[in-house]
């Protein structure tokens, strides 16, 4: 545990002992609802600090730049890839890649719940949420357009030694659909990046928080069955009385947890990722090799 500058959550390191590893940080924070400026400033401060510490990939939660229950604020907090929206964060990135959640406004003025990959010299949308929930307390399809597919992305995380990672991004409700995971697994992803704004629900005795149980089961099962890493970054804080439960974690390619998951407050957890762990898992359990992939739908085209 290292001390941090003000306004930067506590950083908890899970060093690991893998060779040729890159480092990933899961930034579990509570965004301000509807203030892209305030959140962007915080992202830049945190990214700057983590970049200084040599973190290669910095993952933020779903809609980390805007807050979750946006309703009619969606167009107000949306942004395109235009440089003026990203300058502050890009300047803070150093040689790190930042994955942040926000509202993307397409050239056609459709708003999507998106994951942005930001580096010092580039900004891209790497995924737009496909499955927009409208049940219970959710109402996303009223406000957002749907993403069109699940495409893995190669991300260069380090030059020495050269580290290319094939990432498969899913946003919250996407994880509840086996199809999302299966389409990305078919593309042979090395690591799933799960961005989440998962509300805490379920308070029955002798059961842990219902939503936490579900994500724990899903992330461990997905990692084990795909022999890939699963990095899950959930937000914390409250919006209109709804608590977000945090619990961000890294699951290893054998389905085990890399250290204790994050708690309920703002925390940053850093981990080591190594292709060697994926290799070992795929030798021990060659599920990807033995998979028989049916004809692929159009939407699964590779990057």
């Amino acid at each position: 545990m290292l001390s941090t500058a003000p306004n930067i959550p506590q950083i908890i390191d899970h060093p690991g002992n893998e060779l040729e590893s890159v480092r990933i940080a899961l930034v579990q924070l509570a965004p301000v609802l509807g203030s892209r400026e305030a959140n962007l400033e915080r992202h830049a401060a945190i990214a700057g600090e983590l970049a200084k510490r040599g973190i290669h990939l910095i993952l933020f939660p779903e809609l980390s730049l805007t807050g979750y229950f946006l309703k009619d604020l969606v167009p107000d907090v949306a942004c395109s890839l235009a440089p003026q929206h990203w300058k502050e964060l890009q300047e803070a990135c150093g040689s790190s890649t930042v994955i942040a959640g926000g509202v993307y406004e397409t050239a056609e003025h459709i708003f999507t719940n998106a994951a942005f990959a930001v580096t010092a010299d580039d900004v891209q949308v790497i995924h737009e949420k496909v499955f927009l929930p409208t049940y219970g307390l959710f109402d996303e399809l009223r406000y957002f357009g749907r993403g069109t597919g699940f495409r893995s992305r190669m991300i260069d995380l380090d030059a020495k030694p050269f580290q290319q990672w094939k990432m498969g991004t899913v946003i919250c409700e996407d994880m509840w659909h086996l199809r999302s995971i299966s389409l990305l697994a078919d593309q042979g992803v090395d690591c799933f990046l799960g961005l989440s704004s998962s509300p805490a629900r379920g308070i029955q005795a002798r059961k842990s928080l219902g939503s936490e149980q579900s994500y724990d089961a899903m992330t461990r099962t997905y990692a084990q069955l795909t022999t890939a890493y699963f990095a899950y970054c959930n937000r914390v804080g409250y919006e209109d009385g709804v608590a977000f439960w945090g619990g961000s974690r890294l699951v290893l390619p054998d389905g085990s947890l890399a250290g204790e998951p994050a708690g309920r407050g703002e925390e940053i957890h850093t981990y080591a990722l190594s292709h060697r762990a994926i290799r070992r898992a795929r030798i021990a359990t060659p599920l990807l090799r033995d998979e028989r992939i049916a004809p692929l739908p159009v939407e699964t085209s590779h990057d």
């Binding site: 509570a30 301000v32 609802l33 509807g34 203030s35 807050g67 229950f69 946006l70 309703k71 009619d72 604020l73 805490a200 308070i203 029955q204 005795a205 002798r206 059961k207 842990s208 928080l209 804080g237 409250y238 919006e239 209109d240 009385g241 608590a243 309920r264």
Partner: protein
């Protein structure tokens, strides 16, 4: 109907953690650091007091006792016992002068009118203390009361935030046990204490234990009345409860606004209350 109804059993540690963080978060992010609430001597406000005392320093927790001359002495004693237990400084604001002055020209007013007037008087007192102490008003209505409409609109149902609104009365009792509140508060029969001898369960015509189970099946599990009766519940009570939930929907919503323009508040002008926080 079973005696051990597990869906309503709560993980009290989990709930206490969620609710204390709720209070801290929803109070502090709107720029407040103090809370104020009415402390009646009943279990709901005692639980709110205990939760608030876990979050804020004692001088930032303002428990206001607002007795009327017919309020039972034991209510006041129980409220004071809660304050002693939690090391809170009580404020006593007797509402008798205002209430009696108002009804002096209309002595025939019914107990119900008097009770509702008292509940609204208490609300105005709390909002005055809110401004005086710069403290956010915390509500103490539980889910059973809110669903059954067993509260006064713009009276006890008016407040800024409410930690108990998603807990049934029987769950509030469980929480009171976990928070080790004084025994008399945890064991006495619930009463709004709006007139002498008033008891919630007598007035409602069923017990909270029964109502909470029916409400859980009806609201949380969305079972039909027929399905609930098939579990062994009295069909008359199931239907009475369903009627109360329907009839009192108005108390749980903003006033109805006649729609005229392109974006009408709460219909197609939709923002979270925590907008900007």
């Amino acid at each position: 109907m079973t005696d051990t109804f597990t869906p309503l059993e709560i993980d009290t540690d989990e709930v206490i953690q969620l609710l204390t963080e709720f209070l801290r978060n929803e109070v502090e992010k709107v720029g407040y650091s103090r809370v104020v609430f009415g402390l009646s001597g009943g279990v709901d406000s005692a639980v709110v007091a205990a939760l608030a005392a876990k979050v804020f320093p004692r001088e930032a927790v303002h428990a206001i006792l607002m007795p009327y001359r017919t309020s039972t002495e034991s209510s006041k004693e129980d409220a004071l016992a809660v304050c002693t237990h939690l090391d809170l400084e009580p404020v006593i604001s007797d509402i008798t002068p205002q209430i009696d002055a108002y009804f002096s020209t209309d002595p025939s007013a019914t107990p119900s009118r008097r009770g509702n007037k008292m509940a609204r008087e208490r609300m105005t007192v709390l909002y005055d203390y809110s401004e005086r102490y710069r403290a956010l008003v915390v509500g103490t209505s539980n889910k059973s009361e809110l669903l059954l409409g067993y509260g006064t609109i713009f009276g006890d149902m008016a407040h800024a935030i409410n930690p108990l609104g998603d807990l049934y009365k029987t769950q509030v009792f469980a929480l009171a046990g976990a928070l080790t509140l004084p025994e008399q508060v945890r064991t006495k029969p619930p009463s709004a204490d709006l007139w002498e001898g008033q008891l919630d369960e007598q007035e409602l015509g069923f017990t909270y234990r029964e109502a909470d189970q029916i409400l859980y099946y009806l609201v949380d599990e969305r079972r039909s009345p027929e399905e609930i009766e098939a579990l062994g519940f009295d069909s008359k009570i199931v239907n009475e409860i369903l009627q109360k939930v329907k009839q009192n929907q108005y108390k749980r919503r903003l006033p109805v606004i006649a729609k005229l323009g392109p974006r009408t508040i709460d219909r197609d002008f939709r923002y979270a209350r925590d907008w900007g926080h």
